[in-house]
């Protein structure tokens, strides 16, 4: 059985799931470029980077124990594995969405015009959260719009339909949809910097039993980031390869990276993780999730799921901490201790 509370025995084979998103493309690139193997060998491990096409399914599979780690947004880490009782550690805070998610309206560039419209979006996702924040910013309530759940793979196609007048989406779909004539981006994650975080999470028990896994993953991540940040031929080549892995052109990929705030240096990531603002953000995300019923029917209060932050600070039920922001490995990377 894959019960997360079990004390996982030390092992050497690990599976890390990822799905296509600008901020996560370093993972498959690292695998193809041999960076994964290099670090895995260094710690005597075998790390399998598994692509799951459907983002929700990748997180579900992680929750079900099929994967040891997965790339996930902060809100989903909270509502799927953590709320499902799976003790999860976020060991890498990779980036925050700085315009990668946006609210689009057709025929108007005033956000307030969204009132009364039907909005297509992936319900209960970060898009939903972004919409809530956008409405809040112009004094509207969730009940002022009608949401229509639309699959992320189909939202670009759906947006071309004349019936659809408003949508919330993330990249790369967002870029495609922006090209639709008459479409305006009226609100984006750039308006709420640092609230939509993209993480790498691993099973806490597995990590405890195999600290080397955390070290190897962190090592892989920052070596790859350093490579892709370079402005020379090699850096360009790396980015072009990632673009291809994402099924797009280098230009489109660069455009997506431009709206992704990558914590390229581990020190910055450590700073962001230990910043009390993160607690504030997670509280807001949590309250939103609870109000939408994302903690399941059993949860009686927003405090049902406990979170831990660097420096021993916590949020919610201290006895049931299932989401831990763990900056130890990023610190090691910052200190060159890997």
């Amino acid at each position: 059985s894959q019960g997360p509370q079990e004390d996982a025995a030390p092992k050497t084979d690990f599976k890390i799931g990822w799905s296509i998103y600008a901020g996560w493309m370093p993972w498959p690139y690292a695998e193809q470029a041999g960076i994964v193997k290099k670090w895995a060998d260094k710690y005597g491990l075998k790390i399998d980077i598994v692509q799951v096409n459907d983002y929700v399914e990748s997180v579900n599979q992680y929750t079900a124990g099929q994967l040891d780690g997965v790339t996930v947004a902060n809100m989903d880490a909270l509502t799927i594995p953590a709320a499902g009782g799976k003790d999860t550690s976020a060991i890498i805070v990779g980036d925050y969405s700085n315009g990668n998610d946006g609210v689009l309206l057709k025929g108007t560039n005033r956000l307030a015009d969204i009132k009364g419209r039907q909005v297509n979006l992936v319900e209960l996702s970060v898009s939903h959260y972004l919409l809530a924040r956008a409405l809040e910013s112009v004094g509207l309530k969730m009940t002022d719009v009608r949401t229509v759940n639309t699959a992320d793979a189909d939202i670009a196609g759906a947006f071309t339909s004349p019936e659809v007048k408003a949508a919330v989406a993330w990249n790369p779909q967002l870029l495609t949809m922006k090209k639709e004539p008459n479409a305006y981006e009226v609100f984006s994650s750039a308006n709420i910097p640092g609230e939509i975080l993209d993480l790498l999470v691993v099973d806490t028990a597995t990590l405890k039993a195999n600290p080397n896994l955390g070290k190897a993953l962190t090592g892989i991540w920052y070596e790859t980031l350093a490579l892709m940040q370079r402005d020379d031929e090699e850096g360009r080549k790396a980015r072009a390869a990632m673009a291809q892995l994402a099924g797009t052109t280098p230009e489109m990929f660069e455009a997506q990276l431009a709206t992704t705030y990558l914590y390229a240096e581990p020190a910055k990531a450590v700073a962001a993780t230990s910043d009390p603002a993160l607690i504030e953000t997670m509280k807001r995300v949590r309250d939103f999730s609870f109000s939408q019923g994302l903690f399941g029917q059993g949860a009686r209060s927003a405090d049902a799921v406990g979170m831990a932050f660097p420096g021993g600070r916590t949020l919610g039920d201290k006895d049931h901490i299932t989401l831990r922001f763990d900056d130890n490995f990023m610190k090691m990377a910052a200190d060159g201790g890997l």
């Binding site: 929700v56 499902g84 009782g85 996702s125 229509v148 189909d154 071309t160 339909s161 029917q297 059993g298």
Partner: protein, 271 residues
């Protein structure tokens, strides 16, 4: 007595049929209890009490936002779409299947096209479907129809095409025109098969309905399932799937009953 010759009575047959289903339920309960013992907030294989808790709100409580009983409005919306999709598919299958099966020129002209449509996976061409049918109810019904009608057409065409040639000849010697032959010989003999085809298509129809509701919807059984999949709420998904299975089983039994009572000649002991 040889196994082929063992006839099973009606009540026995129901009992025996329930056995493996009850067995599966027990296996599920054991595994689920096991997992729940290890992780009290286990989400993937919830225990019945968790399902009951989760469903109670959906079934008995008005939703704060919409003021509706979600479970029932989901059911109603899905059944309406399914019913419409099935009805359109059945009628078009009867019509096209008959033409294909009995009129060689029609078969020559459209047989390949129907096969082609049957073969193309509609979910791959969704964007084009959006353009043609929009995103509303039409699109959902259309996806069901595109998904199952070609299969039904081919099935009916095959059945009609294999009617004994003697019957066709006989009808013509009795003065039947093409139209009369279709009306009085082909249609009535296609009916039991059509019901059979609807029964066989019921599973795929639900698949397409749920796919359609997963793509864009505000209400519906498939909508709810895909929505709560976002937080792995199997305590809602499993009861919903069980409910779908129950609805489908009822429709299935109803179809069997219609076929037996309206087309008894097709069910007589064939000697």
């Amino acid at each position: 007595m040889r196994w082929i010759n063992r006839r099973i009575g009606r009540s026995n047959s129901v009992l025996m049929g329930l056995m493996p289903i009850i067995l599966l339920l027990i296996v599920y309960l054991i595994i689920a209890a096991d997992r729940n013992a290890i992780n009290p907030s286990e989400k993937i294989l919830p225990l019945p009490n968790a399902m009951v808790d989760a469903m109670r709100a959906l079934v008995f409580e008005k939703d704060a936002l919409s003021g509706e009983y979600l479970f029932w409005s989901d059911t109603l919306a899905s059944l309406r779409r399914l019913g419409l999709g099935l009805a359109i598919s059945t009628l078009s299958a009867l019509f096209v299947g008959l033409m294909l099966g009995i009129l060689p020129p029609v078969r020559a002209t459209f047989g390949m096209l129907v096969t082609g449509i049957a073969i193309i996976p509609p979910i791959a061409l969704l964007p084009i479907l959006f353009i043609v049918f929009g995103l509303g109810e039409t699109a959902k019904v259309a996806l069901i129809v595109i998904g199952i009608a070609p299969f039904m057409m081919r099935d009916i065409a095959g059945h009609i095409g294999s009617l004994p040639r003697e019957q066709i000849v006989k009808a013509q010697t009795l003065g039947a025109s093409t139209w009369q032959l279709i009306l009085r010989v082909a249609v009535p003999q296609a009916m039991p098969r059509l019901i059979e085809a609807v029964r066989l298509s019921l599973g795929p129809a639900w698949v397409f309905l749920i796919s359609a509701e997963a793509i864009a919807a505000e209400v519906g059984l498939g909508y709810r399932i895909f929505l709560v999949r976002r937080y792995l709420a199997m305590d809602v998904i499993i009861p919903y799937v069980a409910w779908i299975a129950l609805l489908a089983a009822v429709i299935d039994l109803f179809l069997v009953w219609i076929s037996r009572s309206a087309f008894g000649w097709a069910h007589g002991s064939n000697r």
